[in-house]
Symmetry: C2
Subunit: 391 residues, 2 copies
DNA sequence: GTCAAATAATTCAACCAATAAACAAATCCC
DNA sequence: GGGATTTGTTTATTGGTTGAATTATTTGAC
């Protein structure tokens, strides 16, 4: 418990407990009753009732048919996340497509629009205008479904700091204020919008699938019961192989962005100190051996180079799981043995517990999904703010 | 705000705010008044008064002479951490010495006992018995000073997991239950005792000096005002060069131990994939080029190898500061240029903001100090539990 | 069929902790 | 000495959880 710097008042207690109840409902396999939530959280039944009332009134929970009866007693009312409440708008701009999706509070993808087109000839303003109209369409479709879009997040393949896209080499962008551009579109002007790096958001997308949430489409092998586990699958490195190689690091269920937001530059980890020169100016960067260009050229060292760099990550951070995404996902089978051989040899603790290596589950949608997830995650973790919004 | 899994009651509010007040007093340059604490925290003066009363009654704070008067108004009563309250017992066992120290709530070292002797011939039980009697003497000395030892922490040069020293190669230990051994000594039997890796604890010792706490002996260059800063000096990598090379990673003021507690194994990060064989079985590990044996042999590649490995850390984690400790501290000047050249070349963002490299400030005492700090940190971050102890 | 047992959910008084505002204390400055 | 000013305490109020009692609804036994 690190002493945060803010005072706590009674209302913070309520905010916390609202989040706790929502979280418990979200992570239950079957719609739980108030009594079940009470047992799971340690809160009194009376308190849970009061909190649930607020969440029902605020349109975050709904009562559904109870879970199958077990014995005697008054039947319970099942609780579930609503599918007509707040939703997140996930946006992505990449070299050869624009995409938008809407995810509801349960984590279900309700709308999905993808527009294939080479963005490189377009200047940032043009590309963002096109994305904006795609986003506006997605929002409109969602709201005719009864959803309320709570915010939007944009994934870009580049370095983001202070809300600005500092540099996105493959788009040819530099210091672009993407948020301002999107806010300039009338249909989006009222939304809170954020930008983040594509690998970071894709990592969050994988988190949704892997850990913490049965609303995701598959359970990881060996995962325990529905509750938030301490670390096993909640800590992993997501590696996104594109032209460059980016990584999103999730530690204990939280994305670690670094002090200045520049973490995850695994593409420029040195693999062969005297190796090939890299466009970053150094020599022997991973990107030169395992970037998409090297892969396309049939680089024989790709898997070994990845294994060496990943071994460094595991030795330093003790992350138990590595997820390969982007261009790596489809060729996972051909990379696996080469990477695992290096991990076995180079990770000091590999004998004690092997590192789990797996392909990304969401494919090309990971970043967009992760972007939308950040929005609904915001509502889930702070429902009190959402409830206050109803003036 | 990640929704934790525990409910919050009113008493948690009090516990949090007690910690907040204590933290604020600890991080103030001059003894603050209740009103100043109120202003700094956002809590009401009335609330601060009530909290301070508890902390005074519980012997964590004392009233001292007020800070120099400024203008009109009733004079304030200054508040300061007590130097006769709870204290932490820091223990260290290493290849050629045993050590114990006592640190009070203000962070001052009140007692320090070091016993030079080669521990390698001794078996674990012998070594721990000797350390135990050193610890008992330190505790006795502290308690005749009016201190109350709140707990002890032990630093060992090895891999610790589940409270056990799994392996400490340089001591020749394997699966040693050091805590049990120490608890077997009558004078220590009532203390909460923990063990941790030497590099981890040394990192925490450096944190005390570098960030967050003016009670440390020097302020870092460029550090801001007394308050807990977001990241600058609160995130760093501490690298401890001994026979092996360990690292303690501090992110946002918290030690990151890894999912299984095995983080920080920088000594086995690959630097030259086809390089010298390492006793871990791999090739080209950093340890072979920058471990103490290589340094003693005058290895010319030491600085470069360190620079390569550290560049990987910075690229991955965006840590702005690297602290060199252990055997590196005394030869810092000779390593600096070589390391910085690699960092400049290989860290992608080095042009945007250079990585700060500095020697450890605490020298050989870092781990022992850090161990003691973990105890008083426990009291500082959760004063409510300490207060409850007075049945 | 009726009644007892069991389980779910709500109501209500008590309690705890923070707040706001009034009040008391101690000093400065004219 | 008296107003202005700041510190610290007192008191009533409010928000939120608790625990016990109460109501509601079902199963199962006789």
């Amino acid at each position: 418990m690190s002493a945060s710097t803010t005072p706590v008042r009674q209302s913070s207690v309520r905010a916390h407990n609202l989040a706790l109840v929502l979280h418990t409902v979200a992570n239950s396999a079957n719609p739980p009753s108030r009594a079940a939530v009470s047992a799971a959280t340690g809160l009194t039944r009376a308190t849970v009732s009061a909190l649930v009332d607020d969440l029902l009134a605020g349109g975050l929970l709904v009562e559904v048919d109870p879970p199958p009866r077990t014995g005697a007693g008054r039947p319970a009312a099942g609780l579930a996340l609503t599918s007509t409440g707040p939703a997140g708008l996930g946006l992505e701009i990449n070299v050869d497509y624009l995409a938008a999706c809407v995810v509801d509070l349960t984590g279900a993808v309700r709308h999905r629009h993808v527009e294939h087109a080479d963005q490189r000839p377009a200047d940032p303003a043009q590309a963002l205008a096109a994305l904006g109209s795609l986003a506006a369409r997605a929002r409109h479709a969602a709201e005719t479904d009864g959803l309320i879009v709570a915010g939007a997040a944009l994934a870009v393949p580049g370095l983001v700091a202070g809300g600005l896209v500092r540099v996105a080499p493959n788009l040819g962008w530099q210091d672009v204020d993407a948020v301002q551009a999107l806010l300039g579109i009338p249909e989006l002007a009222d939304l809170p919008i954020t930008v983040d790096n594509e690998a970071n958001l894709a990592a969050l997308g994988e988190l949704r699938v892997a850990g913490g949430d049965p609303a995701g489409h598959h359970s990881p092998p060996g995962a325990g019961s529905g509750h938030s586990r301490p670390g096993e699958e909640n800590s992993f490195l997501y590696v996104s192989g594109e032209i460059g190689i980016g990584a999103g690091l999730v530690l204990d269920g939280e994305l670690y962005r670094g002090v200045r937001g520049w973490s995850g530059e695994i593409g420029h980890v040195t693999v062969y100190p005297d190796g090939r020169p890299c466009r970053c100016g150094a020599r022997g960067c991973l990107e030169q051996y395992a970037g998409q260009e090297a892969l396309d050229a049939g680089e024989p060292l790709a898997a070994a180079a990845l294994g060496i760099a990943l071994s460094a990550v595991v030795n330093l951070l003790d992350v138990p799981v590595i997820v390969l995404g982007g261009a790596y996902a489809p060729i996972f089978a051909s990379l696996r043995d080469g990477i695992e051989a290096e991990l076995r040899a180079r990770v000091l603790t590999s004998a004690l517990a092997p590192v789990v290596l797996r392909p990304a589950s969401l494919g090309a949608d990971a970043a967009m999904r992760g972007a939308a997830d950040t929005i609904i995650r915001g509502v889930r973790e702070d429902p009190a703010t959402w409830l206050r919004r109803l003036t």
